[in-house]
């Protein structure tokens, strides 16, 4: 039952982490800390830089876009405030539908599968988990032609349903994997006790196990949401008509036009990017463990 400890290393890791770095006893630890901190902040800033630029451009008025200056002379919020009434608002709605739809699909499909595999040894269990692990390595990019051909035959090209199915399918692996680890870490006895106290099997599941596994559930959901929200290749291939395109595809085709409305483009990018970065920060710690599938020990 090695998998019961799958995310446990993460927790113990946090404690070990404080001692892991070799400490120096030789002179001026303060200076060393200052230099380390300064370097780390600079690097942090470096990785934030493109997103700060993104915000900066979205606030730059149209007539100043071709000026080779760092900051605009006047700030202009109209691209962001006007976004909701512009054409791209529809694409934002499509993005939301795809992301929420895929998340719901993953929740409905992954939750029972992960729970059952953590509690029962049935025939085909190993096969199922192998299937999941292999899926985790597959990405839609390499098989986008196959995906296109399949949905073409079903007459589902250019539909939101197709995007929900594909995003749900490809993100299922991560969700099953991380949920399975969480369920396995919850002692069976807790559930048994609730069962004996007169709750049904499902009652015990919903009252005891699910609340305890909530951090895993939330991680899986946010991860799926972000992945579906950011997905580009499949949407570029399947969503052919403008009103069915999620935001990234719409922004991309925006860029292909003769004169690029960079301000509008970046207003859309800011709206598509900043919330996702914040969401991701909430689950970051658990994602590493889920993606590397317990191979870090």
């Amino acid at each position: 039952m090695a998998h019961t400890t799958q995310h446990a290393p993460q927790h113990t890791a946090q404690h070990a982490g404080h001692h892991a770095a070799p400490r120096t006893h030789r002179g001026m630890p303060r200076l060393k800390t200052t230099v380390t901190a300064a370097a780390a902040y600079l690097i942090g800033l470096f990785f934030l830089f493109p997103y700060l630029v993104m915000v900066l451009i979205s606030l730059r008025p149209q007539d100043e876009l071709r000026k080779a200056e760092w900051f605009p002379e006047r700030w202009d919020l109209s691209a962001i405030t006007g976004f909701w009434s512009g054409g791209l608002a529809d694409n934002l709605v499509v993005s939301l539908q795809v992301a929420f739809g895929s998340t719901l699909l993953v929740l409905l499909v992954a939750l029972p599968a992960a729970y059952y595999t953590s509690r029962h040894h049935f025939r085909g269990r190993t096969f199922f988990l192998l299937l999941v692990l292999i899926t985790q390595m597959f990405q839609p990019t390499a098989m986008v032609v196959g995906i296109y051909r399949e949905f073409y035959q079903f007459g589902l090209v250019d539909s939101i349903v197709a995007l929900i199915l594909v995003n749900g399918g490809f993100n299922l692996a991560f969700a099953v994997w991380i949920l399975n680890a969480y369920f396995s870490s919850i002692p069976r006895e807790l559930e048994e006790a609730a069962f004996i106290d007169g709750n049904g099997r499902l009652g015990a599941l919903f009252r005891i196990t699910l609340p305890l596994a909530m951090p895993g559930v939330i991680t899986a959901l946010i991860f799926t949401f972000i992945a579906a929200w950011n997905e580009f290749v499949v949407a570029l291939t399947l969503a052919t008509s403008p009103q069915n395109q999620p935001l990234p595809v719409a922004l991309h085709s925006y860029m292909g036009q003769y004169s690029v409305d960079w301000q509008g483009l970046f207003a859309g990018s800011v709206i598509a990017t900043i919330p996702v970065i914040i969401l991701f920060a909430l689950i970051e710690r658990k994602v590493v463990g889920g993606l590397t599938a317990g191979s870090i020990k």
Partner: protein, 306 residues
């Protein structure tokens, strides 16, 4: 009844994977042997003609070589930089949480959006990178009184040519740069998780033995970090191999096919000949299978699952 129970719980997941992940693979392989019109109508079997046409493309060999170099360069640089960053961010300093948090941004943001910003930043006239080149040049000229062109300083940022995405020799390094930029955060986090599992006693023992810093890192940290490193590197190989949005948004594989990888080529072919594009996909997929097999081997999944 008991026998059917697993089907009710696990069945939907299997069906979804089969329909969305497995079926396209089958469909892709099947299509690669069919003659398909531009509008998707199957015109009958095509034998190996799609593959023959693909291998006969005059850019095919270049594209395959470039794909391999692309993966090796991006993953290699990513791993080296992430090793250094993980070491840095593993130190204790005030505000570590915030600094680590900043590192998340390129990981969380859509790769396409990041690529679009970089494309703008590389704009020949108003892009920020051009502004840096200009201001740095002025600074060097004003302070040291030398012509910045004589220092090689500007060539480090793409040389004299302002339109750096317009020619392959400067576009390719920038594409690699952006790919490394978006891969480093995950890799650093994976390595930080790996570093955190190394017990502090090991370091104390090394210190008692009088091992130097470098020696400790080489003989203790790196070997103990290897599982994390291998898995992170493999996940990167898979991501970088499949990386499409960066090149697509920044150069579309142009000029000619000079910055195209096999994934980009596959996508361009899709618009002219679906059968040939499917053949390219199958070749790509073969490589994915090999990578997956290696991943399964090193991730020791059997111990995990059984």
């Amino acid at each position: 009844m008991k026998k059917l129970e697993p089907l009710a719980w696990v069945g939907p997941a299997v069906v979804l994977i089969a329909a969305v992940v497995i079926w396209p693979v089958v469909e892709m392989i099947r299509s690669s042997f069919l003659k398909i019109s531009r509008f998707g109508v199957v015109q009958g079997p095509n034998g190996l003609a799609n593959y023959e046409k693909l291998f006969a493309e005059k850019d095919f060999a270049d594209i395959m070589v470039r794909s391999v170099i692309w993966v090796v360069a991006v993953v290699g640089l990513t791993v080296l930089i992430s090793l250094a960053l993980a070491q840095l961010f593993n130190q204790r300093f005030p505000g570590r949480k915030v600094a680590r948090w900043a590192l998340i941004a390129p990981w969380a943001a859509s790769v396409l959006m990041t690529a679009i910003v970089f494309k703008w930043m590389l704009d020949p006239e108003v892009g920020v990178i051009n502004l840096i080149r200009r201001d740095l040049g002025t600074f060097v000229h004003d302070v040291f009184g030398v012509d910045p062109r004589s220092l090689g300083l500007l060539s480090a940022m793409g040389g004299e040519a302002a339109d750096q995405l317009g020619q392959a020799s400067t576009a390719m390094p920038w594409l690699v740069f952006v790919a490394v930029f978006v891969s480093v955060p995950f890799t650093t986090y994976a390595l930080l998780a790996g570093l955190a599992t190394i017990p502090s006693e090991v370091y104390e023992a090394a210190r008692m033995d009088g091992a130097s810093r470098l020696r400790t890192y080489w003989s203790i940290t790196l070997p103990l970090l290897r599982p994390a490193l291998t898995v992170a590197a493999l996940i990167n190989v898979m991501n970088v191999f499949n990386s499409f949005p960066i090149i697509w948004a920044m150069t579309r594989g142009q000029p000619g096919y000079d910055t195209a990888t096999s994934t980009i080529f596959m996508y361009i072919l899709k618009n002219s000949d679906i059968g040939e594009s499917a053949a390219m996909s199958v070749v790509n997929f073969g490589m994915v299978i090999v990578l997956t097999a290696i991943f399964l081997k090193v991730s020791r999944w059997k111990q995990e699952v059984a």
